[in-house]
């Protein structure tokens, strides 16, 4: 390993985050190279400074923190989310109910000719007229696929 390679790995070496082989190679290089040894001590210095001497919080911080955190109410965002979730559930239930009711209602209306019907929404207006059914009645309308001309 040359100095450039070693110096790019010194941080990870210091943190023991390299493979055993790399650790050994770097240790060997550091034994022989004063410049890289100095570089290692400089990085170690940064690490030590950061790891030491962090100021203490103010004495009343602990109690203030406990009181604020435990009394925190849900954010407006969370309340909105809950409301939206409930609204979606309610809307979905209503749609499902309407679909079921529509299906039941549709089953209760006999087709114009059993087994030969086609749905109203796929036929032309003149066919509806031809079926002699009230097109505004709201129910599903069936007419014979074999119509007399």
């Amino acid at each position: 390993m040359n100095c450039k390679n070693v110096q790019s790995l010194l941080s990870a070496y210091l943190d023991e985050e390299l493979s055993g082989r790399e650790m050994l190679d770097i240790r060997q290089h550091l034994h022989d190279c004063g410049d890289c040894g100095h570089e290692l001590r400089c990085i170690e210095g940064v690490k030590r400074i950061l790891g030491s001497a962090v100021p203490e919080p103010s004495p009343d911080f602990e109690d203030r923190l406990v009181s604020h955190v435990l009394s925190a109410s849900p954010t407006p965002n969370e309340r909105r989310t809950s409301f939206l979730t409930l609204s979606l559930i309610a809307t979905a239930s209503m749609i499902a109910t309407l679909l079921v009711l529509g299906f039941v209602h549709r089953q209760s209306i006999p087709p114009a000719e059993t087994g030969q019907g086609i749905p109203y929404d796929v036929m032309r207006q003149d066919q509806a007229f031809d079926a002699r059914w009230d097109g505004m009645g709201g129910g599903a309308l069936y007419i014979s696929a074999k119509r007399e001309r």
């Binding site: 941080s11 990870a12 943190d15 210095g45 690490k47 400074i49 962090v54 955190v69 979730t85 409930l86």
Partner: protein, 198 residues
């Protein structure tokens, strides 16, 4: 029935509150230490700890209790910090060439076993280091601090920062190099002597 979805079990809520209070009291000092290094001043550090714990309390049902609470809390805290930095659009305006920012820190040191001159050097290097941290990219700062203040392994940091171990390694390496360069520019003699003492 629909509305029962939104109901919480009050007994669980009380138990969670007791457990959470215990966790706060056990971890707040450590969390404050990291927050102080991340933000560079006491007021912002307190706000960051408080905000992170409030978020953690709200989503406490998502916490996997087989894992360390601090890892989970730090994930929330570092995300909150990075979000806040992005939101403010500030990568602190403090130039790396400036030293001695006003009122950023009140250093209150515990006793060290180290030699007094080494302690003094550390003391005098702390402020330039904190200034350099403030001027650093938030992702680099977070990775370096999780390694150096919390002593976390790269894999753990990668998990917290939702990135790869390779990225963590690169961020830590580049972050420390920035700090080293800054100290060499600002306080070359103290920094050199400090390194020689190691």
């Amino acid at each position: 029935m629909i509305f029962s979805v939104a109901r919480e079990n009050p007994a669980h809520m009380v138990a969670d509150a007791h457990l959470f209070e215990e966790l706060i009291r056990k971890t707040y000092k450590q969390a404050y230490g990291l927050a102080f290094r991340l933000t560079g001043n006491a007021a912002e550090a307190e706000d960051l700890v408080q905000e992170s714990l409030i978020r953690a309390f709200r989503f406490f049902n998502r916490y996997d209790q087989s894992l360390p609470f601090t890892s989970w809390l730090y994930r929330i805290m570092t995300n909150a910090h990075i979000d806040s930095v992005r939101r403010k659009g500030r990568l602190k305006v403090t130039s790396l060439e400036q030293s001695g920012s006003e009122g950023t820190a009140t250093w209150d040191f515990p006793d060290f076993d180290a030699a007094p001159d080494k302690m003094m050097m550390e003391r005098s290097l702390n402020e330039p280091v904190q200034n350099a941290l403030g001027a650093m990219n938030a992702e680099f700062r977070t990775a370096v601090l999780l390694a150096d203040v919390e002593g976390m392994a790269y894999e753990e940091i990668a998990e917290i920062m939702k990135t790869s171990v390779g990225t963590v390694r690169s961020r830590i390496h580049r972050g420390r190099k920035q700090l080293r360069r800054h100290l060499m520019n600002q306080t070359p003699s103290t920094y050199r002597s400090y390194c020689d003492e190691l």
